[in-house]
Symmetry: C2
Subunit: 224 residues, 2 copies
């Protein structure tokens, strides 16, 4: 039993995941739903950011829903449901990431064509989530001002996979002595052309720019 063996087994699982993700992506595109995968460290504020995003979308008449992955508990789905959007919890039973197969299983009966957006909040993890394509059209990698500016250079596989970066808890930037220039540089070093949004869901800062980008990127009616 060796590390080489587990690497081989994992490569097989990733290959199968890629195939399932391709099928999911085709299904999403056919249904006309734009799917966003949110990834970050635990505690970055994915749930609060997503709750605010869903609330704003619902208020604007946009049809949005959420799937949220966690090892245990359904706290996050309950929080997200406060937005008025449908939200379901996927319990990973100890696994540190979501997989395309789990998404497919949970979408069983959902009428995807009735949705404009589906947000998938992944398990909080800067390592395991990187290799698992969930069929999303956009992957958003998030970083809190309280986490330190060096995270992108310490976790390059995940940050390099981002189609958009969201910096959260910008209201705490000063208290946390957040070095904005260093953070942007560490993101830019990995992905020079990927947009960076600075937000505080709690204080409602920077959300308009993010929502505008989301509508534009998804080519949905810019209702906001």
């Amino acid at each position: 039993m060796s590390q080489t063996r587990i690497v081989e087994v994992r490569a097989g699982i990733l290959k199968k995941n890629d195939e399932l993700a391709r099928a999911l992506r085709a299904r999403f595109e056919q249904a006309g739903v734009f799917v966003v995968n949110l990834v970050s460290s635990p505690g970055t504020g994915k749930t609060q950011f997503l709750e605010r995003t869903l609330t704003d979308l619902v208020a604007a008449g946009v049809r949005a829903a959420a799937l949220v992955g966690d090892l245990e508990t359904d706290n996050d789905a309950k929080r997200l449901a406060r937005s008025g959007a449908p939200a379901r919890q996927i319990n990973t039973h100890g696994r540190c990431h979501l997989e395309a197969e789990m998404i497919g299983d949970f979408l069983g009966e959902w009428d995807l064509a009735s949705l404009d957006f589906l947000f998938i909040e992944n398990v909080g993890n800067l390592v395991c989530t990187a290799g698992y394509d969930l069929g999303e059209q956009m992957r958003v990698v998030m970083l809190a001002t309280t986490e330190g500016e060096d995270k992108p250079s310490k976790y390059p596989p995940l940050f390099s996979s981002g189609d958009a970066f969201v910096i959260t808890k910008i209201d705490l930037a000063e208290a946390a002595e957040f070095d904005r220039v260093a953070a942007h540089r560490s993101l830019r070093d990995l992905r020079p052309e990927v947009p960076i949004f600075e937000t505080s869901a709690k204080k409602n800062l920077g959300m308009d720019e993010w929502l505008h980008f989301l509508m534009e990127k998804s080519a949905k009616v810019p209702a906001l």
Copy 2:
């Protein structure tokens, strides 16, 4: 290629790790060095907390050293070396946790008997690090005030494995609207008898209580 298969392979790796960890623990005890494994989410402030701990120990004439694991970069070892204590970086090349074998390899030539304490700063991860015993005598699970009080209930395997809990960034508690009672309750629910330390390494808060506990627990001369 199935999830069942990867679970079997992983069980084998964990079993081998447990054997290596037992041998390491015997070696540490024989050398009289007290070994502490620090685990948390990325961005909790493990490095800053450890740098302050090492600096204080070195100033008190205590012989301490550090091993720090990361996917990439040797930033953390450089930061820790500012304390005056020897610090080495273990690059995990993408793996989301340290393993007993990596520790054994790195300790090759170290004269462990010349040390009072060896601190192992694990890769930032609330999932993968849980199952890997590194031969430590004490596992410290850390949580920042900026991460949310729900983390222990969302990541029970890791938090349940703690011999001590350290809450970091207590200086940001008010700005982050940290719910102290809820945080203590979520830790107490998992481990009622494990001590909780509230600290800010940056502002030098709560460090004396932590260092006192460390000296007492390790049965080293209480030089502080």
